[in-house]
Subunit: 198 residues, 2 copies
DNA sequence: TGTAACCCGTACACTGGTGTACGACAAGGG
DNA sequence: CCCTTGTCGTACACCAGTGTACGGGTTACA
């Protein structure tokens, strides 16, 4: 390696193109998880080979997109106030999660075909842990039911949110009502059943 | 067309092979929805070309598999007693539906890539209608909540059952507890909320 | 203004899956 | 027992997507 500073570094338009490619990939993969490199390149307004100049393979690109999407999501979710009444905290978390789902669509489905299962699992674990600890606290405070496994309750939230996304783009649920409908349903599913009360 | 009866009809082993192919296709597509013709042929213990002797294309085969699976499902679901307390009827319906899901796995996902959306929609409508009418009756009898859309409640059952299947083969939910867990959750989500009572 | 960095288009090799053709061989049914 | 029906293997054409190579043209940046 030369003692002089990096000869020229990366050019400005190159960085701009990389960003355009990732953005286009998110947009494209969000609606069709098995879009081709040609599709993504076209959506980015860039030649197909140019994509390969920045990402060695399709897997590489999907990996980059996935981590970008996850990181952004983490930032948003980290800003949610999870203190106070667990039910109200849950609604706030649902609100933020819903924004993420709308944004990333089925990008994760694309990642499934590319990343190894362990990697996928690890990606899902981060946001799930947030839900888990909230559920845990809610159960401990006697607000959420304890007659079903903790992991199941966490899963139910995931199912309902994902399902709502399907209902919305099938036209059976208005986007405006989505968050309220999800919240109402999940809170009902989480509530302590009458028979469990002392 | 000759006046004589069909010269020879279909041979016995041919019919046997067709059945073997369809069975193998169900088994194979249930776990990997985008299995190739070669995979299916191998699973059926049959040459790849033999499959083409009976099904003109992959789409044809998937179509045949789908209708077989749906028909069998319809027969099972039709045997469920939907009278009496809507809550108990719902549990019976869940029990039967769960068996179907376990059996067909992700065959429908395979169908999604092949059949046109309208056809898919029509296929899902048949079992959904059964749920819908039960939900409708339950709401009319004041047992199920009416503060959420009917179509949403129907969707919730679908989400929970499908989600449970994911949880089971992720090892987070015991198959033995699946039906009870699903039923408890769905009944909680369907119950009339305290604030709605007069 | 020069030059390294970059983009673009075309072309090509490679892979994996689909669907067809053909000829040899086995098996069921009259 | 014979002939039709069906199966099997190999081989081939085809398509779509991935990844690489190269040469001419641009663009940023110093």
């Amino acid at each position: 390696m030369p003692s002089a500073a990096t000869p020229r570094a990366q050019r400005a338009d190159a960085r701009r193109n990389v960003a355009a490619i990732v953005d286009a990939a998110i947009r494209t993969l969000a609606t069709s998880p098995d879009a081709s490199m040609a599709d993504i390149a076209a959506a980015a307004g860039v030649g197909r080979v140019t994509v390969y100049a920045h990402f060695a393979s399709r897997a590489d690109l999907v990996r980059a997109v996935t981590t970008r999407v996850i990181d952004d999501g983490e930032v948003a979710l980290a800003g949610v106030d999870l203190t106070g009444d667990p039910r109200e905290a849950l609604v706030r978390l649902i609100e933020s999660s819903w924004q993420q789902i709308v944004r990333i669509g089925s990008v994760m489905a694309a990642a499934t075909d590319v990343l190894d299962p362990g990697e996928i699992r690890r990606l899902h674990d981060a946001p799930a842990e947030r839900v888990r600890s909230l559920v845990h606290r809610g159960r401990h405070e006697g607000v959420f039911r304890t007659d079903l496994p903790e992991s199941w309750l966490v899963g139910v939230l995931h199912m309902i949110i994902q399902g709502a996304a399907v209902e919305v783009d099938a036209g059976r649920l208005s986007p405006a009502h989505a968050v309220a409908t999800i919240s109402t349903t999940v809170l009902a599913a989480y509530a302590v059943p009458p028979t469990q009360r002392p």
